[in-house]
């Protein structure tokens, strides 16, 4: 079979190279070739842009659908009411059950999610296995204290408007790395518009570089967030000083 | 059976015999591949390396094959830049040997690193102050050059050459080969040197540390120099072995003589430089760190002063004298002994600059750690040898490696 094919092709080639081929034939051949090219192009574009993301990320629902808006309205200190700093300087991150129980000892309303929460977790004492959108790899050391307390950064800068969400969005986990999609960013091409679109090392670097370019002391935060509702009053940030030296790797890695 | 592939006008052994030997050497190759896979999948605990011998037989093999592969760049330099035209008759083989050596070196490096999948960090997150970065960059670039130099040879295979595109490509590449060769020589100079720098910059290791100029320690220049001297020696040596095995003359004597003479002078000057370096090191550098020369060569069962004598006298002075004298060169026995010793000298030097550096205790309360490679290390070190033999066998059989072969055969 293969030998036959080879022979056939050889003849074709000979026809093409030795004899002067007719134009029409050539055009037709070119057309077919072009069609195949387009098929390949479109097909692979579809795979890359549409199918690949579906394959790469698994979709997970949060155990409880959480309404940030309701909570932000109910608490006094904005984000820090629940996502607070501990005395030892560490950041509490996602609240533990013990914190929620403070208000949710019993269901406060009739929201089915809250009822579910009280029933499944509060009464049984099971921690809620929240999926953390912004969970960084283990090798990353991130100091909330230095950014929030010293850098006077707003939560929104990195976490976006999660405080205004009424529902928990789907958590997408990278099947290969096991990390949240938020790290690479929603945009698969890696493009970003806002500071909170992506949480990769380059994004940290970008921000630090930007501040460096503006000089050591930063009076205003370098993004237009004045129109955003602020969970807490932004303190005067004239003393904000940002680390701009090229620092040792282990300042951010462990 | 495969006669259509064999270059025109030359004789080759029967296909059966060829395949037989391919299988024999291939078995060794597979053994090495098995060991390599073990190292990749189970980790470097498969080796006998340890925290004292972070560098061991692999790094030695790496440095040694690159030194031996130095024949390619130096012959290229002579042929294309200095216009030693006769050398065109051996350059193909020098390139082939260089290609084998460099690809082997890259392979060994890929086995040697603890996290092979992160090997690309050396490029992506390069630390330009590290000699190893320089090595990696120049090595891979020069390997690309060698590949480019080797490709036209493949294209000259009788069947491949029939394809017009390949024929043209080969022709064009030949046309600008001098540029590639010059780039190669430039790269080669730096990576041979930086391999020397690898040991020479270790100021925490008085045995390896050398003073130098600008950022480069003396070993930087010595390594380049010795590669230029020993590489051609190795090329001559391998050519001689090939001639013995194929039982025919492949390169004309005048070509060999020319290369041997140049190698001889390189070796002689290198040896003198090495002696000066050793003397300065022993008399000035080392005492300033609180050591005497003999601290490095005694109180251990292996690394005696003999190793220094072997490297400098037996593998340096002796072959230099043979190669720079006309009589010495013309005696086949002396010539081959000399090139063998020359090549050996580079290997011994690399051995010392890798393993002895690791072995010499620096803290006063430590002792000499001893090391013997595990079979996995030996197998993976032999792997490139087997691979080289196979590649030479195939290339020799199907490619016009030796331009003079037909001519000699017709005369003979």
């Amino acid at each position: 079979m293969s030998t036959l094919d080879d022979k056939a092709e050889e003849t074709v080639e000979q026809v093409e190279t030795t004899k002067c081929p007719e134009k029409e034939q050539k055009n037709r051949a070119c057309g077919i070739i072009l069609i195949f090219f387009v098929i390949g192009l479109v097909g692979s574009l579809a795979v890359g842009w549409l199918i690949f993301p579906k394959l790469l990320y698994s979709q997970k629902k949060q155990p409880i659908d959480f309404n940030h808006v309701v909570h932000v309205a109910a608490v006094e200190d904005g984000c820090e009411s629940c996502h607070y700093f501990r005395e030892d300087g560490s950041f509490s991150g996602v609240p533990k059950l013990a914190q929620c129980v403070g208000c949710h000892e019993e269901a406060q309303g009739e929201n089915p999610e809250e009822l579910k929460f009280v029933e499944e977790h509060v009464t049984k004492g099971n921690e809620v296995p929240w999926l953390v959108y912004s969970r960084q790899p283990d090798c990353v050391f991130f100091s909330h204290a230095s950014h929030i307390k010293m850098g006077k950064l707003d939560c929104v800068v990195c976490h976006g408007h999660i405080g205004e969400s009424k529902h928990s969005r789907v958590y997408e986990e990278n099947r290969l790395t096991g990390y949240s999609r938020d790290i690479w960013g929603k945009n698969l091409a890696g493009l970003k518009k806002d500071t909170w679109d992506r949480m990769k090392m380059d994004d940290c670097a970008e921000c630090h570089a930007e501040l460096k370019a503006k000089g050591e002391t930063v009076t205003t935060l370098p993004w237009p967030i004045n129109w955003m509702p602020r969970p807490y009053e932004k303190p005067a940030s004239s003393q904000v000083r940002v680390n701009i030296q090229k620092d040792a790797c282990f300042v951010c890695h462990k | 059976m495969d006669s259509a592939l064999i270059p025109e006008g030359v004789k080759r052994c029967s296909f059966g015999k060829f395949i037989f030997w391919i299988i024999v050497v291939g078995a060794v190759l597979l053994w090495g591949v098995f060991a390599m896979l073990l190292c990749w999948f189970k980790g470097l605990n498969q080796t006998n390396m340890n925290d004292a011998y972070g560098f061991a037989v692999w790094i030695w093999a790496d440095l040694a094959v690159i030194a031996l592969g130095g024949g390619a760049f130096f012959t290229g330099l002579l042929r294309y830049i200095f216009g030693k035209d006769e050398l065109k008759n051996i350059i193909n083989y020098a390139v082939l040997i260089g290609f084998i050596c460099y690809s082997s070196a890259l392979l060994i490096l890929a086995i040697d690193i603890g996290q092979p999948l992160r090997g690309w960090f050396i490029f992506w997150h390069a630390n330009v102050h590290s000699m190893l970065t320089e090595v990696a960059f120049c090595l891979s670039c020069y390997f690309a050059v060698l590949t480019i130099e080797y490709i036209p040879l493949i294209l000259e295979n009788r069947q491949v050459d029939k394809v017009p595109f390949f024929h043209n490509l080969s022709h064009n590449m030949h046309g600008i080969m001098a540029i590639f060769a010059a780039t190669g020589a430039f790269l080669s100079f730096f990576h041979q040197g930086s391999l020397g720098g690898v040991a020479g910059v270790l100021f925490g290791r008085p045995f390896a540390y050398r003073e130098g100029v600008f950022i480069w320690p003396w070993t930087f220049f010595l390594f380049t120099w010795s590669a230029a001297a020993c590489g051609p020696c190795f090329t001559i040596f391998i050519t001689w072995i090939t001639e013995k095995i194929t039982r025919k003359k492949l390169v004309k004597k005048n070509v060999i003589m020319l290369l041997a003479k140049i190698a001889g002078w390189m070796l002689a000057t290198y040896t003198i430089a090495k002696i000066i370096d050793t003397w300065y090191w022993a008399a000035v550098t080392v005492p300033s760190k609180g050591f005497t020369l003999m601290d490095f060569y005694s109180n251990n069962p292996l690394y005696g002063i003999w190793i220094l004598v072997l490297e400098i006298v037996i593998c340096g002075v002796v072959p230099s004298i043979i190669l720079i004298t006309k009589k010495g060169r013309e005696s086949s026995f002396l010539l081959i002994s000399a090139v063998f010793l020359g090549a050996l000298g580079a290997c011994v030097n690399r051995w010392v600059m890798v393993l002895q550096v690791m072995a010499v205790p620096v803290m006063t309360f430590e002792s000499w750690p001893m090391y013997f490679p595990s079979w996995q290390e030996i197998a993976t070190t032999i792997l490139p040898v087997a691979y080289g033999i196979i590649l030479i066998m195939i290339s020799y059989r199907y490619l016009p490696i030796f331009p003079q072969e037909r001519e000699i055969e017709q005369i003979g």
């Binding site: - | 102050h129 595109f165 024929h167 600008i176």
Partner: protein, 53 residues
């Protein structure tokens, strides 16, 4: 390795080292591109000794 990486520093050692590297890579790259394109052009022009013999 690339100037737009945040690790990149514009200092002498980077310029010398990376300069050398990119110089070599450029020569290799351009050289090969030239050879391939020229070979393709030549082939189309019908050059190439063996063809059609």
């Amino acid at each position: 390795m690339l100037p737009f990486s945040f690790e990149w520093i514009w200092d002498l050692s980077h310029m010398v080292f990376m300069g050398g590297l990119w110089y070599a890579l450029t020569i290799i790259g351009l050289g090969m591109t030239y050879c391939i394109i020229k070979a393709a052009v030549d082939t189309c022009k019908g050059k190439g000794g063996h063809c059609g013999h």
